[in-house]
Amino acid sequence: MGTDTIKKYEKEFLLGLYERMFLIREFEEQVKFLFLEGVMPGTIHQCQGQEATAVGVCTALNNDDFITSTHRPHGHALAKGVSPESMLIELFGGVTGCCKGKGGSMHIGDVDKGMLPAIAIVGGGIPLATGMGLAFKMKKTPQVVATFFGDGATSEGAFHEGINMAAIWDLPVVFVCENNFYGASTHVNKVTRLKCIADRAAGYGIRGETVDGNDVLAVYEAAQTAVQECRDGKGPVLLELETYRITGHSRRDACQYQPKEERERWKNNEPIGAFGRVLVTRDDVDEGDLEAIRSQVEQTVVSAIKVGRSAPEPTVADLLTDVYA
């Protein structure tokens, strides 16, 4: 993440990236707290440390572009513009949540914001993204879909089938692999002989690229290029974003399968701090600007939590609705 790159952009744009990344971090940290406190139901998969992938990719998309997501969807949703209130209500099982309390953490989504309800079956959302790309192509709209999935998902048959069909039909789909080096507790080196997942692209005759997923601008630029290729009918593209979750896989995971020094190294390289350090090298940004953003975001999350906690629950009658259209 160079101080040169950072000069190419408007201040507002850069601070916007910072703000959205910090929103994700703060959201996740508060949710973790609520969860450990025992007031939040369910199980959660969080993305602390991976904020740059969600924000970098989604910033390269238009409002009417789409994303699909996984069991770890909070960051993607916030980055695509799903409101923190509607998400927190959902996490608390409230009837006014983005899925009326029927989805929960693993199925967060909001089609009005361009996000399909997340698919928690690993790899299971990938063919859907191909289908969305097919719809865009058949309808001749200029929309693009970015489909997030993990390193672990690339071992699933659904990945293979979905990406191959997007390739043969030249569909506008950006396949975004967030390689955080672990699928649950299993290191990626145990599940593929390849050095990098972007090399899988060769098996489908499409372009693949490995990017520093903790560098939000690098992600943004790679995503922009990929999105443009897709809009130009030159898709699909496979983007591998190398990152790390600096929290557990789910729930109360102590991550004992990760070497301590690896964990420390990545913690020191987490994307928000790193971006902040580069940001302040600009003449027109100082630590105070960042601090102001952070405290404003903290306020946003605090009040969203308040909304979430006090949202009305569904009634038992709601159990039977929304099965059929």
Binding site: C99, K102, A129, E161, M165
Partner: protein, 337 residues
């Protein structure tokens, strides 16, 4: 009016719906290859000439193209996904069950998945893996509607209703009923042709059909078994036993109005199913009838089904596997005793 086979009627229904609505498209393996067969049973033969951009031949990747259909449907398209054999639905099971059927509910009703799935079933001399009656895996799946078509009239009408429905609809078809011709003809095929009226019509997805009226016993079947039930009923009539024959047709939900009216009249029920007895569709039907109409039942519901074995290859075994009129008649005799 013109007489059509199920394959022809489906083809005409698909063509009409594609002409009516640009969002409708077909997707599947070998469905529109020039010089090919129009799917495994000729249903989509030649449609690529009419709709060159909306006939999508896929790689052999069922999970993939069912998932693709779900994604396209959510974005406003109306895919008709064609699986060559109902057995291969098992390859796509996760996409159908986890995504197609549940997305609407998980999204709190903000998403809809208007897709049609077409699957040929039935034992037809091909051995165990191209022979299963896979209705059982989808009946009772919340979020999916399931129908089974046994006449050309129903095939066209239900196909059209399914395309217009805003939910995932699975249509089961039977290999021996298609009336596929030429090189794709099936030995042992049964005539399921109908007079097809001119112009648009639909057949509701939630109504059973009474194929024959009688007051002594109710025989319920679907697909090939609806035909065999009717033929058994003719033989029974010759001995003075008059059967109501119901083509259950809508398997999810069942039409308990039609079924109930018959049960209240006859008090005796035989359900005929191709496929292993245990855990089949007729288990639900038998339990559902017993729950609703036990006061009218003169005897427990009888299920005539295949034994609990995979489908064997040898013709003599396959014929013994498939319920047939003699077994249906014997069951009725047992009930009338």
């Amino acid at each position: 009016m013109k007489r059509m086979s199920i394959a022809e009627a489906l083809r005409e229904g698909i063509a009409e719906e594609m002409a009516r609505d640009e969002a409708v498209f077909c997707i599947g393996e070998d469905i529109s290859v020039p010089g090919g067969w129009g799917g495994a049973f000729t249903v989509t033969l030649g449609l690529e000439k009419l709709f060159p951009d909306r006939m999508i031949d896929t790689p052999i990747a069922e999970a993939g193209f069912f998932g693709v259909s779900v994604g396209a449907a959510v974005m406003g398209m109306r895919p008709i996904a064609d699986v060559q054999y109902g057995d291969f639905l098992l390859c796509a099971m996760d996409q159908i069950h986890s995504n197609a059927s549940m997305l609407r509910y998980m999204s709190g009703g903000t998403v809809k998945v208007p897709m049609v799935m077409r699957a040929p079933v039935g034992a037809t001399g091909r051995g165990a893996q191209h022979a299963r009656s896979t209705e059982r895996f989808f009946v009772g799946t919340p979020g999916i509607k399931v129908v089974a078509v046994s006449t050309a009239y129903d095939a066209k009408g239900m196909l059209k209703a399914a395309v217009r429905d805003d939910n995932p609809v699975m249509i089961f078809e039977h290999k021996l009923l298609y009336g596929s011709k030429g090189a794709r003809a099936e030995s042992g095929a049964v005539d399921a042709t109908s007079e097809i009226p001119e112009g648009d019509y639909t057949v509701p997805l939630d109504k059973a059909a009474v194929r024959r009226e009688g007051s002594d016993v109710t025989i319920i079947g679907w697909l090939l078994m609806a035909h065999l039930a009717a033929s058994a009923a003719e033989s029974l009539a010759a001995e003075g036993v008059e059967a109501d024959v119901i083509d259950a047709r809508s398997l999810s939900p069942f039409d308990y109005d039609t079924i109930g009216a018959s049960v209240r009249k006859t008090g005796r029920v035989v359900i005929v199913e191709e496929g292993p007895k245990t855990g089949g569709v007729s288990a639900e039907l038998a339990a559902g009838i017993a729950e609703r109409f036990s006061d009218s039942l003169k005897a427990p519901v009888v299920r005539v089904a295949s034994p609990d074995v995979p489908v064997p290859f040898a013709p003599v075994l396959e014929n013994a596997y498939r319920p047939d009129p003699p077994r249906i008649i014997a069951a009725v005799h047992g009930l009338m005793r």
